[in-house]
Structures are given as C-alpha cells and as structure tokens.
C-alpha cells in the first residue's frame, strides 16, 4: 500500500512540471507586451524598455520560465501589478467561496444522481429507468446560464424563497450564507447529476450481471443489501473518477455561475484578471488550480485502492 502511494506521488511530479510549463507558456505567448499593459498607452519607449529590463522580459523565454519556477517553488507566485495583492492572497481570499460552491454542488449532484442511478439499474429498461434516462439527457443539453435564470425566476422572483444574488461569509452569518449558495449549487448540481447517474447506472447494470450477484441472491440476502453492499462498491470506480474530474473542474471556479449569482470565487477572480490583463494573477491562479486538479486526481487514485482491494494489493 505504501509502495502504491509513493508510486502515485512520484507520478505526479512530471505532470505538475508539465502543467507549470504550459501555464507559463500560455501567459507568455498571449499577444501584447506586459510592460506596455502596465504603463498604459501614454508610456514612452524608454520607460517601456526600462520596465521590461526590470521585469526580466528582455531575457530569453526559458530563462524567464526557470526564474519563475524557482520563485514558485519558494512559494512566491508573484504579485498583481494592479492591486498589489500577491497571487496567494487573492486565491486565499476567493478559494473558500469556490470550495463551498464546489462541495455543495457535488453533494447535491451525488444526492440526486446516485439514488436515481441505483433505482434505474435495479429495474433497467423499466418505466422509471426510461423516464430518468430521458430526463438526464434533457438536463445535459440545458446550458447552465439557462438553468440559473430559470431557478432565479422560480425560487427568487416568483416564490421569494431564496436570494437571487449575493454573498456573506459563512463565519459571519452561516444560515444566510447557505441560502446564498443554494441556487448556484443547484444550478451546477443539475448539470452534474446526469453524468453521475449515467456512469453509475451503466456500471451497476454490468455489475448486476456478475456471478457474485447471482450468488448473493442465492444466499437469500435482502435486495437492499445486494444493491448497496454487493453491487454499489464494485460499480463505483468510474463514479469516483467522474466525481474527481467534476471536483477538479469546479475547484477552478465556475465563470458563468459565479458571475450570474455574484459570488466572489476563483472564477470571478479569473474573469477579472483576463479583463484587466493581469497576467501574473492569471498565470498563478491557473497553476494553483491545475495543482489542485492533480491533487484531487491523486486522491481519486487512493480512493480506488480503498474501494477495490485488488488494486490495494497490486493484483489489478
């Protein structure tokens, strides 16, 4: 097991290195001179050249990359030239919002998707299965901005149950914080559950054909025990993968949902950085989010081993 963990950890290193290279390249290859952006269009060529020298922009690309990487490894992701905030400060300020949104959305998505998947698989091809599979397709094809607007219309405008936009930190007012998060989380969850449901449903249907399920029936176990103990665990590997990918994706914030519901998360930070051409923030945030993604995937790999003893013992 320890061997497995170490192998997985080592495998993350080249991925992280590649991620850092890509984020650096993307930011560097964007058209426009950073010095010119900072100084504005009133700047004299001498000033621009001087700033370029100060920022090391006149150095070759590989030199700048190594420099930046060295700083990053020391925990210095750079500082926004607009707000003066460091990348880490900006992210630390925004990440609780995106994290909470991600957790609530994923929780709601699983809360809807998993029971529906199990119910569908238990009677595959039945009326409920066909109806839910169809609904999942319909939900998948609805863009999140449309869902968001419909939810706002229904729950905020018509019913007045929930606020449409806004945010207060959980530490200040837990209840109203949760109320602010319900609609955005639900918007995301409604896009998440069809994927969760379809993946788990088809894996469950395959598992239910297995000999060991026939034996579980022959042993006279209760149907609920067969579904939840014998079938769910071996069917949930793909589900864990999908959930991991979803979490990694939502970790980077959600541009559209955060914008619609005015949530100050990572997504909004990125949008702001793009509009203001704040490349330092952009580059740092993208790298941090990518690192988060890699770490989530590492956790997913660990979960495989928890779920399937054969992986734990190196048999599969």
């Amino acid at each position: 097991m320890l061997n497995f963990v170490v192998r997985r950890l080592l495998a993350m290193l080249p991925v992280l290195l590649a991620v850092s290279l890509l984020t650096f390249l993307i930011a560097s290859l964007l058209p426009g001179d950073l010095a010119l952006v900072i100084l504005g269009d009133q700047a004299t060529p001498e000033n621009v050249a001087a700033l370029r020298r100060d920022m090391g922009l006149d150095q070759p690309l590989w030199w700048r990359y190594l420099n930046w990487l060295g700083q990053v490894l020391q925990g210095d992701f750079g500082r926004s030239f607009r707000t003066g905030q460091t990348v880490l400060q900006a992210v630390a300020e925004r990440i609780p919002v995106s994290l909470q949104l991600m957790l609530m959305a994923e929780f709601l998505g699983l809360l809807i998707g998993v029971p529906v998947a199990i119910a569908c698989a238990a009677r595959a091809g039945g009326a409920f299965d066909r109806f839910m599979t169809g609904s999942a397709f319909a939900m998948l094809s609805m863009p999140s901005f449309l869902v968001a607007i419909l939810l706002i219309f229904l729950f905020a405008v018509e019913l007045h149950w929930l606020p449409a936009t806004g945010y207060v930190p959980f530490t200040e007012a837990p209840l109203s914080n949760l109320r602010f998060f319900v609609l955005p989380a639900l918007t995301l969850a409604l896009a998440e559950w069809p994927g969760i449901m379809r993946v788990l449903r088809s894996d469950m249907i395959a598992t239910l054909q297995e000999d060991y399920i026939a034996l579980a029936k022959a042993k006279g176990l209760k149907p609920a025990r067969i579904l939840f103990v014998h079938a769910l665990k071996p069917s949930s590997l793909t589900l864990v993968t999908v959930t991991g990918i979803n979490i990694g994706r939502l970790l980077g914030g959600t541009l559209i949902v955060e914008s619609i519901f005015a949530l100050p998360g990572i997504g909004r930070l990125l949008v702001g950085a793009i509009y203001t051409r704040d490349l330092v923030i952009l580059q740092g945030v993208v790298l941090l989010v990518a690192c988060g993604f890699v770490i989530v995937n590492f956790i997913v790999d660990m979960l495989y081993a928890v779920l399937d003893p054969r992986i734990r013992h190196g048999h599969a």
């Binding site: 060991y212 034996l215 579980a216 022959a218 176990l221 054969r310 013992h313």
Partner: protein, 330 residues
C-alpha cells in the same frame, strides 16, 4: 421412502432470442428425496444449468418458465419473493461453477460468510464469526481465522471453491445444488472438492444435485443420474443400474467420449459427431436422431417418451434402446 424433497414437474424454460424462442429446458420431470444425490449430466447447452437456475428461481429476467418446482411442500415458481428469499441460502443453497467470479471481489471472505449466517440464523456477530471459522475449518481451509479478513483474490481457485462451499453449507441447507463445481479447477483439486461435497452431504444428511458434463464425476457419488440432451431428460436411472446397462445411445456415446488412461497412445477419442440441434428450431422426432448411429425413420418422425421397461426406476427416451452393456465403449 418419504415424499420427495424436490419435485420438478413438467418444467419448461424458454428464452427469447433474436432468432425466436429458445427452449432451454423441455418438459422435464425429476424428483429427489431428502439426503440423496442426483447427478445431472449432459454436454454444454443441454439445459442442465438452466434447469438448476429454474430450481433456484435465478433465471434471466426474460426467461419464461412453466411447470412446477415443488420444494419442501412449496411451489418455488409461485412463491412470493420474500418467502423465496428466506428459503434461499437457508434451505436451498448453491455452489456455482467458477469460484473466480462467484465471490464478490470487494468484500472480505468473513463478510461474505457471516452475512449469510446472520441473514438466516439468529446469531450475533461473534457467534456468526465463530460459526464461520468452524465452517472454513470443516471445508479444509488452514488458518481459517486469518482467512476471514482476506479477500477472494488472495486465495487460490480451489481455496475459493472451498469457501463457496462453506457459504453454501453455512445454514445447513436441505438441498445443495452444485453446478459444475469442479469444471473451473485443476484436475488435482477436482477430486478433493468432490470428496468434500460428498462427505459434507453425508454428514449433514442433505440432498444434493451435482450438475456436470462428466459422467466420471457422478459415477461413485450420485445415487441417481439423469442424462440430459437438448433440454430433455434422455435417460434416468440409479447410478449403478445406469453404468451396468444403459439404454439410451446418447448415454453410451457420452461415456465413450471419456478419455481412458489405459488407451494406447494416439488412440482417437470416439467423440460424438455432429452438434446438438438448434434449440430455437425443435425437431419433430428424437433430438439425438441426427447424431445417433442406431437411428431409424421412426426416430425422425416421432419423439420417444421417457418410459421404463424392465426396471421401474430406469427411464429412457429411445425407440431402439441398447439392450446389453456390450455396446459400451468403442
């Protein structure tokens, strides 16, 4: 003789296929008394596994079953799901063919044993655990206590089949169905597993059905043998009577197809030529007629019924039964 524990009466199983209905089991009648062993023998696709699944009520969802399966006074076909569930695992147990796939890979052996015990017997966890250890020891598993915490992939095939047998025996069933219990195992393990089954069957006085394609497996172990062909029982007799004088040419051919250890090198096996008939297109006459060396025009026109001649418990379905044992072998 007491009333039979299991009576299979006029059971037919049909499976819908794209080419039409496949009749896997065709009007089968069988019975088994408590404490006795019945061997069901036939080649692949003859319906023996479907018949066992019909008894267990574990047929594929689309399968259509007619007839009655009376077990211990109840018709399993018409039993409510909840009553059936209470019966399965307790009075009616099964060992499947492939121990590599019949144990759940993500649950420990202890869990898979104890859940059956706790489902049917009023035992708390420590008692169920104690019983599990005793069961594993009874089926010949060394260090049973450590095995409880292990997963199936940490055990060999033979070991897994022993565990599957322990699970089947866990609630002292009245009937154990062993569906090709040794087919997936090494030859050296096969005899051990069969002897284990026979020993436990005697000790617990349970009835057993051994399903196999190998007449050798049932030879010394079954009280009665039913030979199946194309979904029907072709011949049925007490084991000794069957091996002494078989009447059905198919039984003879099946026996002749067993390789003999004392045969000279390079002796060709007298394999049964041809294939079983397409079960989606039933033949008018005897289903073995196309492959039978005794077949006549009558065999192709009418289906012989399962009847007995001189011995009341020796049934066969043939117009031209082999009269003497001379015809055996090749």
């Amino acid at each position: 003789m007491s009333a039979p524990l299991l009576t299979i009466a006029d059971v037919t199983v049909e499976l819908p296929t794209p080419r039409g209905n496949l009749r896997a089991v065709d009007h089968v009648d069988l019975s088994l008394e408590a404490g006795r062993t019945l061997g069901i023998v036939g080649e692949s696709g003859c319906g023996k596994t479907m018949l066992s699944r019909a008894v267990l009520q574990l047929l594929p969802k689309k399968a259509k079953l007619t007839g009655r399966v009376m077990f211990d006074g109840q018709d399993l076909v018409r039993l409510a799901p909840e009553s059936l569930r209470r019966l399965r695992g307790r009075d009616l147990a099964v060992v499947f063919q492939d121990p590599m796939t019949s144990l759940n890979p993500v649950l420990t052996i202890g869990t898979q044993l104890m859940e059956t015990i706790q489902e049917h017997l009023e035992l708390d966890a420590p008692e169920a655990r104690k019983r599990s250890i005793e069961l594993l020891a009874a089926v010949g598993i060394p260090a049973p206590e450590q095995r409880l915490g292990q997963y199936p992939h940490q055990c060999s095939g033979g070991m897994r089949q022993r565990i599957a047998i322990a699970i089947a025996l866990s609630c002292e069933p009245k009937l154990l169905i062993a569906d090709e219990p040794t087919t997936a195992l090494d030859v050296t393990i096969q005899a051990q597993i069969l002897d284990l089954l026979a020993r436990e069957q005697r000790r617990r006085h349970m009835a057993m059905i051994i399903i196999t394609h190998d007449l050798g497996v049932v030879a010394g172990r079954a009280d009665e043998v039913a030979v199946m062909y194309a979904g029907r029982v072709a011949e049925r007799a007490p084991t000794s009577a069957l091996f002494k004088r078989m009447h059905m040419p198919y039984t003879e051919a099946l026996l002749a197809a067993i390789p003999k250890l004392d045969a000279a090198p390079h002796t060709p096996l007298p394999a049964i030529s041809g294939r079983p008939p397409d079960p989606t297109r039933p033949l008018r006459g005897c289903s073995f007629a196309p492959r039978c060396r005794y077949a006549t025009g009558r065999c192709r026109e009418a289906k012989p019924a399962l009847t007995s001649a001189e011995m009341p418990d020796h049934l066969y379905a043939c117009f031209h039964p082999i009269q003497m044992a001379e015809g055996v072998g090749a």
